[in-house]
């Protein structure tokens, strides 16, 4: 799979779910790509580098989201 194709798949799937959910577990993303976790990781890491995805962390768990989405995004950017 090309990086662009993977990104397209992720962005489409996540955008569709935005109404109910803005943060996703790594495994949710691997499932969208229909890839084994280790293979999926290469694409997902690249999407973070390309700023198509961003990390969210509670400290104990990490999740992924589209940049600038979710309740927290507003709260975190206010000064």
């Amino acid at each position: 799979m090309e990086q662009a194709e993977a990104q397209e798949k992720i962005v489409t799937a996540l955008t569709k779910k935005l109404k109910t959910k803005s943060k996703f577990y790594f495994n949710d993303l691997a499932k969208i790509l229909e890839l084994k976790p280790r293979v999926a990781k290469k694409y997902i890491t690249q999407m973070v580098v390309d700023q198509a995805l961003e990390y969210w962390s509670s400290g104990s768990t990490s999740m992924y989201g589209l940049p600038g989405t979710g309740k927290q995004a507003g709260a975190e950017h206010e000064e």
Binding site: P37, Y55, S57, G59, T61, Q72
Partner: protein, 438 residues
């Protein structure tokens, strides 16, 4: 004069123990005076406001922190934990109060110079409050603002040869005991293994793709000074497979009172003369020792390497020469199903640079299994419980050994697979009927 009144916190200073409240007040005062002329990059009264918000939480019996967020340094999915105060007008100094985890050095060996550098950086760009160390082992920097994060990371990584640690669904900063660097009980070089795996698994440490956290801990011997057996998903505990080395003369020197037992650790009061039977042989958990006619015998086949006898008489008894480690998997703190200790998966493995056997045959197969089968937020120990220990050893491709069995025959439901049974499931029914009527 304190910025906020803190009568409830002041109470905590009244007991006989050192108090973090006193420490915080001292730090608040130090920042206010600023005798060193530091150009503070975050509010000077950050510590006063921390005390203030804590007092308020005591009063309300509720937290005023919002925990978690997107903050971090570019490219890393861990090492920074976002934290915000939900009363920013009242406590502007802690409106942003992020935690940073700094990967502690192997064995936690520091030079004074390095500690000073860390503290100077943190006084300058953070609250000055640290936690040495967090439960994973990291140096914890408590409290800074978002714009400082990249600056601190740059300084750490470019000028101090230092990296951030793990947080979230990452490999957490691996942690080890002082090992062969200073301890004669060490059965392998914990510092070398810890350092190598930290370097080799940088991607796992910084870019989260696990179902949940994952911890490595390395203990040089079963004394478990970093409590690997209780606190890590994969615990590497040093051990040996030959005999405990006995210096018969030194044993008798202990018996004769020449050497203090336990390296003199119990010197605080008079416990009476040393009694080898009461204090050593009777306490051997496998009862594999005896002291007769001035001679100590150990049946090493039965010894479980508990370290007790060696700890009591370190000058007389030494770890064996054929050394390596045992690997245990699945320890964790409560949350689901209560706390769990590690289960033995590899009774003995040699620990030799470049550690390929450990990486290829143990760590990576376990990760592959857990990443594919683990549910979100499921620790390895929980997956092991859910799918069974049998599945675990299948993943590793090892045979069951007696040490893996906690107690014999308490579970009648052992399901054999066809390829594990000689002759498989096929049988000659005529042959069978010869001996068994319908």
């Amino acid at each position: 004069m304190a910025k906020h009144e803190t009568p409830l916190l002041d109470q905590l200073e009244s007991g006989p123990w050192p108090s973090f409240v006193s420490d915080l007040k001292q730090e608040a005062e130090k920042r206010a005076k600023n005798e060193k002329g530091v150009e503070f990059q975050i509010p000077v009264d950050v510590v006063d406001d921390l005390l203030g918000v804590l007092e308020l939480s005591f009063k309300h019996k509720r937290t005023h922190w919002k925990h978690g967020g997107i903050v971090g340094v570019f490219g890393y999915g861990g090492g920074v934990i976002g934290r915000y105060c939900d009363q920013p007008e009242m406590f502007p100094g802690v409106a942003h109060f992020h935690t940073m985890r700094i990967n502690h050095p192997s064995g936690k060996f520091y030079t004074a110079e390095y500690l000073r550098q860390l503290c100077d950086l943190w006084d300058f760009r953070g609250s000055g409050i640290t936690n040495m160390h967090g439960s994973t082992g990291d140096i914890i920097f408590i409290g800074t603002t978002t714009p400082q994060l990249e600056e601190i990371f740059y300084e750490l990584s470019h000028n101090m040869n230092q990296d951030l640690g793990g947080s979230g669904s990452n490999l957490r900063s691996p942690s080890d005991c002082i090992g062969t660097a200073r301890c004669e009980y060490a059965c392998y070089d914990t510092n070398a293994l810890c350092y190598t795996l930290t370097q080799d698994y940088q991607d796992e440490l910084h870019r989260p793709a696990f179902p949940y956290k994952f911890k490595f801990k390395f203990d040089g011997c079963p004394n478990c000074c970093v409590a690997s057996i209780a606190r890590s998903d994969l615990a590497f505990v040093g051990t040996w497979r030959d005999e405990i080395r006995i210096d018969a003369e030194a044993v008798n020197a202990y018996v004769g009172g020449e050497f203090p037992p336990n390296g003199g650790a119990h010197a605080g009061r008079d416990w009476g003369p040393f009694d080898i039977q009461k204090e050593v042989t009777d306490l051997c958990p496998t009862k594999c020792m005896k002291y007769e006619k001035g001679k100590l015998y150990i049946n090493d086949r039965e010894c479980t390497r508990c370290m007790h006898c060696i700890n009591v008489m370190p000058r007389a008894l030494r770890i064996g020469n054929d050394r390596g480690c045992s690997i245990l998997a699945g320890a964790k703190a409560p949350i689901l199903d209560g706390a769990q200790m590690g289960s033995l998966i590899v009774p003995f493995i040699k620990v030799e640079d470049p550690y390929d056997e450990i990486k290829d045959n143990v760590i990576e197969p376990i990760w592959d299994w857990w990443m594919e089968e683990g549910k979100n937020r499921e620790r390895l120990g929980e997956l092991m419980k859910r799918q069974g220990f049998q599945r675990m050893i299948e993943v590793l491709g090892v045979d069951a050994v007696p040490q893996m069995v906690q107690e014999p025959r308490s579970n009648p439901y052992i399901f054999w697979k066809e390829d594990e049974v000689e002759g498989g499931w096929e049988r000659d029914i005529d042959e069978f009927r010869k001996h068994h009527k319908r």
